[in-house]
Subunit: 157 residues, 2 copies
């Protein structure tokens, strides 16, 4: 089970006073609440005009409680988490399954767990499970990512 481990295996030894090296099983986490302004800005930037993000009536007609945050905006938590801990990380792949809608002003916890690390020349190809949860622990995005890391030393953020 992944969720219990999430709360039971929280980056042991990860503090600002020590150097932490990424190992298989380690978790990197970050929470964010997406505002109406975030959705508007993202939609302007990406030209995503899907009414599910702007029109509450349309969103309710489609079976949602309210307007939903674009899934790719929520998923931006994953490269943010990886790059903030490993500046210069090169994103190789990402899979995303959008399990449940994310509503504006809901707090979402992004969790990235190292599942495999392989040395390639002088860099590291790391694979991660990438998940987003609502405040109540419900999984909203499930997937995997891989990235080339220049180092396994975790940047403190």
């Amino acid at each position: 089970m992944w969720v219990p481990r999430l709360f039971g295996n929280l980056m042991r030894g990860y503090s600002s006073s020590s150097t932490m090296v990424l190992e298989k099983g380690h978790l990197l986490k970050l929470s964010r609440t997406f505002s109406e302004s975030d959705v508007t800005q993202y939609s302007k930037l990406s030209f995503d005009s899907n009414p599910l993000h702007f029109d509450a009536v349309c969103a309710r007609d489609a079976g949602f409680e309210d307007r939903i945050v674009p899934g790719m905006l929520v998923a931006s938590l994953f490269p943010r988490i990886i790059a903030s801990h490993f500046p210069g990380a090169i994103y190789v792949s990402q899979t995303l399954q959008f399990k449940l809608p994310v509503y504006i002003e809901e707090e979402i916890k992004g969790v990235v767990q190292a599942t495999n690390i392989r040395l390639i020349k002088n860099k590291y190809l790391a694979k991660f499970e990438t998940k987003c949860f609502k405040d109540n622990g419900v999984l909203v995005i499930d997937g995997e990512a891989s990235a080339i890391l220049p180092t396994l030393t975790i940047e403190h953020v």
Copy 2:
């Protein structure tokens, strides 16, 4: 081969004067050039501070020609293409393989091809191949998406 079909099978009958219904094999396309401002805005919005997007020296040290556009920003072309043709589309999944870097001011063509369409109750679960190409036809992002479409009638954009 996918690329030759891309240029040989371009939405036959797709014009502003006719109603077009999505069928397996149909292609939906859209090109975009990502500017420095786009990258800056996206990074502010997503809090992605990866120096590969801002620091040309860091990007060159990592083996790139210059700063690169965030992969998830390039990939935002896919939901944009799907939602602009099918307003109210609900994104279900997306896989992304970042094959090659995208540089600022490069024109990128996003191509979405319907590979499977299934009626579920009164909606449609559509699967797509999702690809991005450089101007010279080189593949930069490869993947697949699935979305629930409220209708198969293609909105003219």
